[in-house]
């Protein structure tokens, strides 16, 4: 069964005409998105700055309260 699934996909990819170029575009796009953009430009800010959820919650509460109370 696994072999027939494998051959199904293998033959499908082999027979593609326009699809080969599309797969190349998909591969380049995913590489740029995940290996370059996500890694170097889009870190998860709270995950990289804080270690625990409690610290993250505390930081966010400060962000949404501190500067805004002074304006009252």
């Amino acid at each position: 069964m696994f072999y027939s699934v494998y051959t199904f996909y293998r033959d499908g990819f082999r027979r593609m005409t326009v699809g080969k170029r599309l797969w190349l575009i998909i591969a380049i796009k995913l590489f740029v998105m995940f290996a370059v953009l996500k890694t170097f430009y889009f870190p998860n800010y709270l995950n990289t700055q804080f270690e625990t959820d409690a610290e993250r919650a505390s930081y966010v509460i400060d962000q949404i309260t501190e500067g805004h109370i002074q304006k009252n």
Partner: protein
């Protein structure tokens, strides 16, 4: 104009998100609509056994594959941005968005790994009926996949089924069914998917028109036009119905957005809807200038849309900013005062918890719960801050409606001339069909501009403004990634158009 653009970090982050969403939405509606057209084409093939229908199905499937391949995963970039540019927001909504987005991700993965593969690779490997089943599953699954994203979006427009936890600073889900069956989310889903069916139908009609203009693949073009025009006409009628429902929900939950959509500053009983008009862009809420420079109004329609009653009152921007006692509308200034009390209570609650002062924390919690519904207003400086960009919302809404009125006429014209067997001779109609391809995208994108620009300043309606949702980053960081995305997406769009044009010029395989 340029001096009006605010180039602060939050606005660059906003622009980056808008850019990504608009590019993403170039690909998505075609996938949603074309998948159903493929299912219709293939059903006809299986029922008739006519190989011409198979050839036709395979041709449109190739264009579907190009669009899918170029567009796949462009939406994930929005999720990158949540974590980096909008960390406050993503933390606050994480509990609500987790479930729908996880379901969407799992759904999309299994769908793509199984039925997409069978649809593209399985023509000679599985039975006709199994292949047809896969094509239908792709259509149904892709559209259901969109449901989860629209549930998340609908929640931002009308936050229901949740409670704010002041210990974790998160909105926590209390009722999944309330979130799922949120009337705003449901009307958004039906309106968005049906408008995508219209877009895809116009795409098929437009490309078929090009073949008729060139005198190539006439039979395939005519058959495609028949199916797409019938589907498009039915879909556009439903777009009208779901649009009516969407307007009603906007009136109930986001009255300021409706007022901006119509450029309505002073509320009216028996309110008319503006068919055509020019907005006075100098107008500010509360001043004495006219809101519209020119307007052509259809009487009573806005009251009917908003409240399902001709003689009902529709609040205008001034009523919502300054309040209207007669109709029980509280002023934005009062809500700002309440919001500031809620924010102060949240800060006091945190301090009391840190000091292990139970009495103070209970008192703060009572105060927070009293004013929590207006907490978002506490971040605003004045009532005028609650007004979205009126001109952008108004024009986007009217462009969408005008084009939405034009499209059924286009479908009817094609069906009429197909019926008369004269469609090949109507060169003007072929040009109209071709022009409708870009216009379909203009209408679709305009719809999202209404939905998103019209709900400013809110990231979550009434609870969290956009400018409090962002991460404390430098403007330069966001600018850099903005231009990187602009470059990447433009490259992808050029690739899509080039590959698609090559394939269209080539036409269906002569097998």
């Amino acid at each position: 104009m340029v001096e009006q653009i605010d180039l602060t970090q939050v606005n660059w982050a906003r622009a980056q998100f808008a850019l990504t969403a608009l590019y993403h939405w170039i690909f998505v509606p075609l996938t949603l609509g074309l998948s159903f057209l493929l299912a219709f084409f293939e059903t006809i093939y299986v029922r008739t056994g006519n190989e011409e229908w198979k050839r036709l199905t395979k041709f449109w499937m190739t264009l579907f594959a190009i669009n899918f391949a170029i567009g796949v995963a462009t939406g994930i970039i929005l999720e990158f941005q949540f974590g980096t540019n909008w960390s406050n927001y993503s933390w606050i909504v994480g509990d609500i968005f987790g479930a729908p987005l996880a379901i969407e991700g799992i759904f999309a993965f299994f769908l793509e790994a199984t039925f997409f593969a069978m649809m593209f690779f399985g023509w000679d490997r599985v039975s006709k009926r199994m292949h047809l089943f896969s094509t239908w599953m792709v259509a149904i699954g892709s559209n259901l996949s969109a449901l989860w994203i629209l549930v998340a979006n609908g929640w931002m427009q009308n936050p229901v089924g949740m409670a704010f936890n002041p210990d974790t600073a998160r909105f926590e889900m209390e009722s999944f069914s309330e979130v799922l069956f949120n009337p705003v989310a449901i009307s958004k889903f039906t309106h968005t998917t049906s408008s995508s069916f219209v877009l895809a139908s116009l795409f098929v009609v437009g490309i078929s028109s090009w073949y008729l203009l060139k005198g190539r693949h006439i039979l395939m073009a005519k058959r495609s036009i028949v199916v797409a025009s019938v589907f498009g006409f039915v879909a556009v009628a439903y777009v009208g119905l779901s649009g009516d429902e969407a307007a009603y929900e906007v009136a109930q939950h986001q009255p300021m957005k409706l007022a901006a959509m119509e450029g309505l500053y002073d509320g009216e009983v028996n309110a008319g809807a503006i068919a055509l008009g020019i907005v006075n862009s100098q107008k500010i809420a509360g001043d004495t200038q006219e809101g519209m420079l020119v307007e052509v109004k259809v009487p009573f329609v806005l009251s009917l849309l908003a409240n399902r009653k001709f003689n009902s009152f529709v609040p205008g921007i001034n009523d919502l900013v300054f309040g209207n006692e007669e109709y029980g509308i509280v002023s934005a200034a009062s809500r700002i005062e309440n919001g500031k009390k809620a924010i102060a209570a949240l800060a006091a609650y945190k301090e009391a918890r840190n000091n292990n002062d139970d009495t103070a924390s209970k008192q703060a919690l009572v105060k927070l719960n009293t004013y929590k519904d207006d907490i978002g207003y506490g971040y605003l400086q004045s009532g005028v801050d609650t007004v979205p960009p009126v001109a952008t919302t108004f024009y986007a809404f009217h462009v969408m409606v005008i084009l939405g009125t034009l499209f059924p006429l286009v479908f009817l014209a094609f069906l009429y001339y197909i019926y008369k067997d004269e469609v090949e001779k109507k060169g003007w109609l072929h040009i109209v069909g071709l022009c409708c391809i870009p216009l379909a995208w203009v209408a679709s994108e305009a719809g999202w501009i209404v939905a998103e620009v019209g709900r400013q300043p809110w990231a979550i309606q009434d609870l969290l403004p956009v400018r409090v949702s962002n991460t404390n980053l430098t403007t330069g960081t966001v600018q850099t990634t903005f231009f990187m995305f602009l470059f990447l997406f433009t490259l992808l769009l050029i690739a899509e158009i080039r590959i698609m044009l090559t394939q269209i010029k080539k036409g269906p395989e002569e097998d």
